[in-house]
Symmetry: C2
Subunit: 387 residues, 2 copies
């Protein structure tokens, strides 16, 4: 195990009926809140009303800021920053999934500085503060509710970049699994892919035998997410299946499974960001194209960990490590397809002729993230394996 | 999954060479520290010097308070409370295992109130504040470094009681696995028993299928602790084995594995506390007597979870659930014996004729913890199964 710091001070309120506590939780950080949310689904399912009543009952003035979309964009966050400054809000309340929370995090940083907020994404400037953030999760996958990261796309140049800072770690996050009952089967599937990819990108970075403790946690979480997703295909309102996925999503990318494992490279996320920024493919759907392609690309040189995954998660055993690994990749693709996610560029209507363009876009992020092995040629090779 | 709050804001600094950061971490909470430690082993292995230099370099005045023993006692903590008040310290630095950290937690509470500190243990008074606590862990088992609990024995009446409060959650804890290299095989074994018992007491409380996520984490941690302990029997300075045990100990009782699982009853800990308070048996050694006895007591009425444990941890499969459970209990006892821990009252030189006396002592704690099913007769029955 490598040296590490683990510090995750977000308070989680988990379960049925917890959303009504948002007012009290927010009150600890101020009396005027910017309410960040998406394109209105929370108005249909009643969550908006619950949140607004609770905030109002707690004596909090609300500045409404709807409109965050999936694959959130910089221009929208910048509008939010201006509004937050102009209104002098004390705290940001985010009600949504990763896109909404990441928009809120970007606003929280931007509202406390005169710097161009994009400079924090390109690492030209360092984050020194942010407004406090409180969240209500309505789509589980990103773990943004309990981590210090945010991802935003700058429309010009289609650059999907990220920030990391303890200042943007949410103070309190409310996770009510019943909120997920309204998620479509499609978005339930995309969320499962995203959670599993977070877990596997860490897992494939880890080196046995040093990673045995973390590996077992990851394997247990992946099997739980898979089983729960399968349950939800036939029983959409299964409370415990939703609860398992909601909590596994948070634990899967809040630092727990990677503590002691060094720097996590996230190459599948890196390449996927280009798919979702160039084509507006749902992030999870893009990942189920890229992750198996990446696994195929590396499996001959580094079969051991993929073979372990095949064994522990799918109980596959072939005569060689490479064959076991390959069968595991095939089974993972089948599983992604079985829940209704994409497994090829063709599924997303992306022509093979675009591969060079996608690779070119991804290269910028590879550079920003310091992934030196991912040259234009390598990224294109991986994308070809995902045709 | 039941509703829960998860909030664990302790910062963990994990790894080789981290102890030198104790001064900087402590400085965040004041300039005068009560240094709480045990009976001097940290002076032999150099940890004391490292801690004192680091604190001194950070400009922190040290008030020395050695003498905490395993199964820490109230009178010693009260002396510490008086010293902390008299010297007006800002912060408590604990260097040791669970006994030292629990002594520090008790002092931290007592120093901030005029109330008799024992009233917080008997639940006659509620904790409203405490001095900040920073820890350096030298024996891993209790997870006291990352939780809000402390256990102390009042000598008069041999009452081993506990407190729980967010105020006593350590601010920062430093975990350096190399510190464990000097642990004797005996104490390595007792620590493993304590960690496994924390994990299993939660596990046996949980109800399938709602607990599938938590169960898998527990099973993974137990297997990791068992394998790592076996490695250490032959290779005492195996860094990764020590690191796995150190981190598993923390994760095993910091709220992670029981989040969403309701109230955890801890009957084996309850009964064991009487063994260690009446006979000064090491806590872990007492647990490896009581836990299998408790499992035997319940296995016919509630075989399912014990059978699952037998299956997942030991790969045992018999023709019935009860037989599988019973074989699992037998295997666990064998494993405890194989690492050199006690598995019967006789091993600890406790005569059968004392069972009534032990049960009588344990009954007081059963009442304090609200374990209504644990009458004098039931506790005595369990102890008889541990003869």
């Amino acid at each position: 195990m490598q040296n590490f710091t683990f510090y995750n001070p977000t308070k989680i309120l988990f379960g049925k009926g917890q959303i009504g506590k948002i007012g009290k939780e927010t009150k600890a950080f101020g009396t005027k809140a910017l309410l960040v949310y998406g394109t209105g689904s929370i108005k249909k399912n009643g969550i908006y009303d619950t949140v607004v009543s609770s905030l109002t009952d707690a004596g909090i003035e609300i500045v409404d800021f709807p409109g965050a979309r999936s694959n959130p964009v910089l221009s929208h966050a910048v509008t939010g920053i201006e509004l937050a400054r102009q209104e002098g809000v004390d705290v940001i309340v985010a009600v949504g999934g990763g896109s909404v929370i990441d928009t809120a995090k970007t606003i929280a940083v931007g509202a406390k500085t005169d710097e161009d907020v994009w400079k924090f994404f390109t690492r030209e400037a360092a984050i020194t503060g942010a407004l406090p953030i409180v969240t209500v999760v309505t789509i589980s996958a990103s773990a943004s509710e309990m981590n210090m990261a945010a991802v935003i796309t700058k429309e010009q140049g289609a650059q999907k970049f990220s920030i990391r800072s303890p200042h943007i770690q949410p103070k309190t996050s409310i996770l009510d699994p019943t909120v997920l009952f309204t998620l479509t089967p499609q978005y339930t599937a995309y969320s499962a892919v995203d959670i599993i990819t977070h877990l596997l990108e860490g897992y494939f970075n880890n080196t046995e035998p040093d990673s045995i403790l973390q590996d077992r946690i990851v394997e247990g979480l992946i099997r739980t997410v898979m089983e729960s997703t399968e349950t939800l295909l036939t029983e959409r309102n299964h409370y415990n299946a939703r609860a398992n996925i909601m909590w596994a999503a948070t634990l899967g990318f809040n630092g727990l499974t990677t503590a002691g494992m060094g720097v996590v490279a996230l190459p599948a996320h890196m390449i996927e960001h280009s798919l979702s920024s160039l084509y507006d493919v749902p992030h999870g759907a893009g990942l189920s194209i890229v992750l198996p392609a990446w696994m195929l690309y590396v499996h001959e040189k580094r079969p051991a960990k993929i073979a372990r995954f095949a064994r522990r998660v799918f109980h596959i055993e072939k005569s060689t490590e490479i064959e076991t690994a390959r069968a595991g990749i095939e089974r993972l693709k089948q599983w992604f397809a079985s829940i209704g996610s994409y497994t090829s560029l063709a599924d997303a209507d992306i022509p093979d002729s675009d591969i060079a363009k996608i690779a070119d876009n991804a290269l910028a992020l590879a550079k920003a993230w310091g992934l030196k092995d991912y040259t234009l040629v390598v990224i294109a090779e991986i994308l070809k394996l995902g045709r």
